[in-house]
Symmetry: C2
Subunit: 517 residues, 2 copies
């Protein structure tokens, strides 16, 4: 093995090196103090760019070759089209055609549409992937089939890694619904409008070469310039850059499960009873069915009680858009549009604002937006009695999900995990979670259909909800009840070999995913 | 002397060192190829910033002390309030109170209101100024009274110098008409609304410590965040941050001089005859009286001929705003609002867009906006027969003006200098300009009340205007005629000592200003 296993502050054994690079084990929340300087890109000169501003080249292959595509490079893409991405596969098909090997693919997230990458992983075109593992790629990794070690980072952690020089991007390819020949680009207009392009921001700022690909080239200036042409090397015009219908995933529908509706209702009642839902408050609820139900219940309460939020954080959906249009919030601060209503609203409403992992999530900035949010609703695959939570692996040991903004959102003033107490007869509250993605000290409340458990560290929340008629119980009690129902689950049989490292928001390694035997 | 004089590509003798730092002499347009990396600011951590996002401190003095104000630091300010700036003087008054010495003041421009700095220059609180010299400060410098050497840079050159690490800013103080406690800030709203804050962008991105000062603190989020709170260390609330009535200077009135009106008319006719004024074209005209007259004449022609510009570049004024509102241009791309109508329009009109020296002028980017502009109208204090031009000194040797965006704008597709052939009986066309600020190869047309001279390098423009009834003449002819009228002027008596260095857009030294004997 090219690494040793060392114990981090959570007692987890993590690799000392990732793909040959020495790493720092997790040291606790806010305990690791970075030293050194940010990454410093090479200085460019306008003398080397067309004075007309026209950076268009014939096609993606030409752009990649001009950008110097060669063995061992790190190529980044972003996931604003989610499962409708059309570019990433093309890039590595071109690399394969050109006989290029040992690339690192550094997407902001991967989706089932990227299962085609498996053949490039097998053939050696791609050495390893640093990014979320969704579905088939996750299974491939968990089976120990990828040459290098996978690295999973939160959205903020990805910005941090690029900014801090942990990941050097050689070529960034940005799918842009609208662009001009100078490279200014946004996601607001055009046949493939997907909303915003914030996940590509760090790449545009720090990559050696930046390629913008669009199916809607407009004359300069393309405004707003969510991506600034001053960072862009080449512009490519294509027939179709992405399939925006697929930014809507199954997770953007409100749950119909009675249990989950109950959980969402409990979460809403908790936020209200704890005194969080007041004029000028803020919340973030993702696109999962339970989160959406929470937002709907909250909306009803806000309307009835004439409460107006200062801002809500997206992933935006039609539900948040409706709140903005009804005047229930001053702003949507949006990191990712999850449906086409979100796209429309961002284009039309001046208070539906696009944000980026830099503004919202980068832990190595002078603050970020995530810690300013009053209450956030997040999911989890597992939790343990110390309130540690897992979001990337299932209890069978398989790596199947990415971190998204999950770790970053834990820094909100009140983090609630509304989760079922068991799934497929497997208890969700475990003795130990398969993979720790977030430390318990940041997780304030766990809400199941069997009751609400408040983290003992949050004496303020315990005091505020004392005397309410909420079903507040110790987490141990809920676990015991579920364990009786489900029985003690079998644990997966894992190899010692690490197939994926889980980074914390500060670049340290919080846990590792093992090969499944 | 702490430097030698070396000859640059224009044959000018320039200092080898500026304030102890070795510099590169000007090598020709696009001839200097920068190597190396951009400046790399220290990595921050959210762990060191309040999780509430509230970065407010009691007052400016507290903020400066927390930022570590000490001897020898470089302190930057910006000039969006122009002669209505209220902060810069306060900063150095505080420094004087605290007994701090040898500071470098690095403003984006100075104005007559800053003449109070002279006492800090005399007492040693400020060692030298790097920035434009306007009026009294310029006279002080030209007289050789400043301890260090002044450095003048264009707006783009200032961004380049910070980005490339030539100038390291220790503390940046940003006057913000609106801000939130996190440090997000803009110039659009509040009692001191001044439009935009682009000149402070580089400082916010690269300075060690960033202080935002505002008289209009709003709850998070202050949007748009022209300055991003993620770069900001401290926020200070004050009674009044600037006097926006003084952003309107005397130069934002249309000229009433018949000669200058004629010159402006000739410039307009030239642009039309040369085929530049077509649907989708672009132009930039500054806030000088002649430039404004040019814009008015152009507007009339565009209306009569149903021509619509794609964009016009500001400094915005009521005249440009009117063009936008009439539909004569798709966009105003604005670098600096020159009157309150400009401020209002930028706040209200989605196509009145704020830009920054990064997007528009930075020569060490992957292109910039300046070279995309079809025609630009600029001023000059002097020109010579090689079309070299001066914009910072008068013929008496006094340094009285800054470079502004002048050098950057020379990269437009057609640069026109509409200037009177003499001022105060001194000819404007000289054997040699007192200070070369822009090389003749970038200056295409000189238009005086006595005729139009086209740079012989621009055969295309010569061909296009051949056969027109424009008074096109060789520059030599015009000079001869004026010299006969005015007589040969006395030249100023200059010392060898360099009091100010003039940087080119790429950081090389294009000329030097001598001490006046």
């Amino acid at each position: 093995m090219s690494y040793q296993l060392i114990e981090n502050a959570l007692g987890k054994m993590v690799p000392s090196h990732i793909n040959g690079q020495e790493v720092v084990p997790y040291q606790g929340v806010g305990k690791y103090h970075p030293s050194g300087q940010k990454a410093a890109p090479a200085i460019s000169s306008c003398a080397n760019y067309p004075s007309s501003g026209d950076k268009t080249v014939a096609n993606l292959k030409t752009a990649l070759l001009k950008a110097g595509l060669r063995n061992g490079m790190t190529i980044s893409t972003h996931h604003h089209f989610r499962d409708g991405d059309l570019l990433a596969n093309q890039i590595f098909d071109i690399a394969a055609e050109e006989g290029v090997k040992d690339l690192v693919w550094f997407p902001s997230a991967s989706f089932p549409c990227h299962s085609k990458m498996i053949r490039h992983l097998e053939s050696g075109v791609i050495h390893h992937i640093e990014g979320s593992m969704n579905g088939p790629l996750g299974e491939f990794v968990t089976a120990g089939k990828m040459k290098g070690m996978a690295v999973l980072r939160s959205h903020g952690g990805r910005y941090q890694a690029i900014q801090d020089g942990e990941v050097h991007v050689d070529i960034s390819v940005i799918a842009a619904p609208t662009a001009d020949p100078f490279g200014n680009a946004n996601g607001l207009r055009g046949p493939s409008a997907c909303g915003l392009l914030g996940f590509a921001l760090a790449d545009s700022q720090y990559a050696d070469k930046v390629i913008v690909v669009s199916d809607n080239l407009v004359p300069f200036p393309c405004h707003p310039w969510q991506i600034q042409g001053n960072y862009v090397d080449y512009v490519v015009s294509v027939e179709q850059v992405g399939d925006p219908s697929k930014i809507v995933s199954g997770t953007t529908q409100i749950t119909k499960s009675p249990d989950r509706l109950l959980i969402a209702e409990l979460a809403t009642r908790f936020a209200i009873e704890a005194g969080i839902v007041q004029d000028g408050f803020s919340f973030q609820a993702g696109a999962g069915g339970t989160s959406l139900a929470f937002a709907i219940f909250l909306e009803k309460f806000m309307e009835e009680n004439q409460i107006r939020a200062r801002f809500v954080r997206g992933g935006s959906t039609q539900y948040l858009v409706k709140m903005l249009e009804k005047g229930l919030t001053d702003y949507i601060l949006d990191g990712q549009t999850f449906d086409l209503e979100g796209v429309r609203s961002m284009r039309e409403h001046p208070c539906h604002v696009d944000t980026s992992p830099f503004t919202s999530y980068n832990y190595h900035g002078k603050g970020n937006f995530a810690s300013l949010i009053d209450v956030v609703i997040l999911g989890a695959t597992e939790v343990d009695l110390n309130f540690n939570a897992n979001v990337v692996t299932h209890s069978d040991g398989k790596l199947l999900h990415g971190l998204g903004g999950w770790q970053n959102c834990l820094f909100s003033k009140c983090t609630i995990l509304p989760i079922p107490s068991f799934r497929d007869r497997l208890p969700v509250i475990r003795d130990q979670v398969t993979t720790v993605c977030g430390p318990g000290e940041l997780i304030d409340v766990i809400i199941t259909e069997r009751g609400i458990a408040i983290n003992p560290l949050r004496e303020d929340l315990i005091a505020k909800t004392k005397g309410s008629n909420l079903p507040i119980r110790p987490l141990e009690d809920i676990k015991e009840e579920v364990d009786k129902l489900c029985g003690k689950p079998d644990l997966p049989v894992l190899d010692e070999e690490v197939v994926a490292a889980i980074k914390w928001v500060d670049g340290t390694v919080i846990d590792a995913v093992r090969k499944l035997k």
